[in-house]
């Protein structure tokens, strides 16, 4: 979903950076390209990067101290290695710091119009969002406290938008709805909910010949949930169809075209 959104923004001429958090390296697999911390141009206007806490911290220190030797000294030091790997909140803060660096004007320039972050799944993402306010509360003075408050400000600002992606099945809808509430509590912003893998809402009146009863029942159940599951007070930002393909690039391409059509008709949110 994040990739299709980024691609559709790029097609519209917006310089877009698609960021994957953490180590699953999903996009490396999809695009067959070695990706790293620095953005890599994959298609016109579309760059990709993988951001992890330690690399973000290293870049931030490099930006602060300018001297590579000092940064190397820091990361080569056994005490600092243990701290970076295990100290409460440091990695989460470095990661959210990088995500918000453009708006805070801290760190190296990120020359993009849009940054689309393919974030962690529910619990991990909420832990990530929780780090800046927790650190700001714990450390009231000094650079750490100030940076944490700055990060929190951007995460709660108009410039930062949240999309919660759900599929029209009971558990994902319930969890997505709960996640939207949790994000709202955490940052004070209402996420948009996007329904993905929607089956056609218009069904034949009777099951076509030889369609198994289970398939028919699943279709009806998904249609009903898609239409009637109460996601209020959150706005639904799009309903994207199920694309029966095992090829992820094909899915991304198809979904990006759908995003473009959607924006042409309704305008971008």
């Amino acid at each position: 979903m994040a990739a299709s959104l980024a691609k559709s923004l790029a097609v519209q001429g917006r310089k877009t950076l698609l960021v994957e958090l953490g180590g699953s390296r999903f996009f490396e697999f999809i695009y067959g390209e070695r990706l790293g911390f620095e953005p890599k141009l994959l298609e016109k206007n579309l760059c990709l990067a993988i951001w992890e806490g330690e690399a973000c911290l290293r870049e931030y220190l490099q930006y602060l101290f300018k001297l590579s030797r000092l940064v190397d000294l820091f990361f080569d030091n056994r005490i600092m290695q243990a701290l970076v790997h295990g100290a409460p909140g440091l990695k989460e803060l470095a990661l959210t710091g990088k995500i918000t660096s453009r708006e805070r004007r801290v760190g190296p320039e990120l020359p993009f119009d849009e940054i689309v972050v393919d974030a962690y799944s529910t619990g991990h993402f909420l832990a990530l969002l929780a780090a800046p306010p927790a650190m700001a509360e714990a450390i009231s003075f000094g650079p750490m406290g100030a940076q944490s408050r700055g990060i929190q400000q951007v995460l709660s600002s108009e410039g930062c938008r949240y999309l919660v992606v759900v599929t029209p099945e009971e558990l994902p809808l319930t969890e997505g709805h709960e996640l939207a509430h949790a994000i709202q509590r955490q940052v004070g912003r209402s996420p948009l909910i996007v329904k993905n893998r929607c089956w056609p809402s218009v069904m034949p009146e009777t099951p076509p010949a030889n369609v198994p009863a289970d398939f028919w029942e699943t279709w009806k159940s998904r249609r009903d949930l898609q239409q009637h599951f109460d996601l209020s007070p959150f706005e639904v930002g799009g309903e994207l169809p199920q694309i029966w393909s095992n090829d992820n690039r094909h899915i991304i391409d198809r979904l990006s075209l759908i995003w473009l059509e959607e924006w042409e008709h309704h305008g971008a949110h």
Binding site: M80, A82, G86, A134, A138, G145, T174, P208, T218, W244
Partner: protein
Amino acid sequence: MGLIESLESAKVIVSTGTGGVGKTTISAALGAVMARRGKKVLVLTIDPAKRLAQALGLNEGIFEPVLVPEASGKGAFYASMIDPKRIFDRFVEKFSPQPEITAKLKANRLYQQLVTALTGSQEFTSMDRLLSEVEKRQFDLVILDTPPTQNAVDFLRAPKRVVGLFDERITKWFIQGGGKVPLFSRIVSRGTKAAVAALEKVTGSEFLHELSDFFEQMSYLQGQVKERSRRVEELLKGADTRFLVVAGADEQKLEETKSFLEELGQSGFHSSSLLLNRAYPEWFSQGDSFASDGAFFNEAVAYYQERRQRLERFENENSFISIFRLADSGKPLNGVKDIVKLSEALEVL
């Protein structure tokens, strides 16, 4: 050998995999199978989905094992939630030499963060709880549903990170002088001095003060942290422990899972099984040819046929792993009856 047979002799089963693959539900269903076979089983889980928690009788605030009679069969099925904060707090209370140290540590603001949501703490406390339950010897089998990680291997690496943080060679830098001497003047090595100066510039003196205080209090516990971690590792590598890796059937997830299984083997953990959850819908697994005049249905059939071919290819290329495919019933989990039903599906794999 079937899935259940491959796990039946185990006294500990670690159910692992990335988030969102149905690991908790599978752990519960596996518990139900083993209970039906006469065992006294405990399923330990962290942060289960609300409906699953309700089905297992795990109401908020209850962390002691709860008996689930409807899933107990001839044996007994217990479920319990893991609360990282409570476990950390108990750990501190149990092993602190003085109540003042417990109080100081609990008041430290970095400790308060460590025990809640931060990297490594859930994994460390899950493993500690597992060890406690196994050592009590009250159950024939303990199934640990691991905390959700972005990458399955994170679970195995996390405790080492926590232990690394409390390495005495490291903590001594922060605690020499009992906190009375400023941190900077305690450090002798020029390299460390420069690194700490850099850290202070980034974080500020208040953070360093908290950190120093945190390490000072934790230094009384570092022996226990290391000892518990050593025993957990021994338990996980023991002959009575099996790993069940639960994964989705998407191709990129399969590659990630394969790397994880290889790492498990290389790290000295015992043989494991891979369960591909929701590999395809039940109706698809029950037939070979589908001819219909429904276009949407035909697209779905073509999709699942291709997926089946990919899965078969993956299985052929990785014959060193015992791989099992579980079909998706397509129905939401509404109670213990559904867990029992799922357990019956596991039993025939």
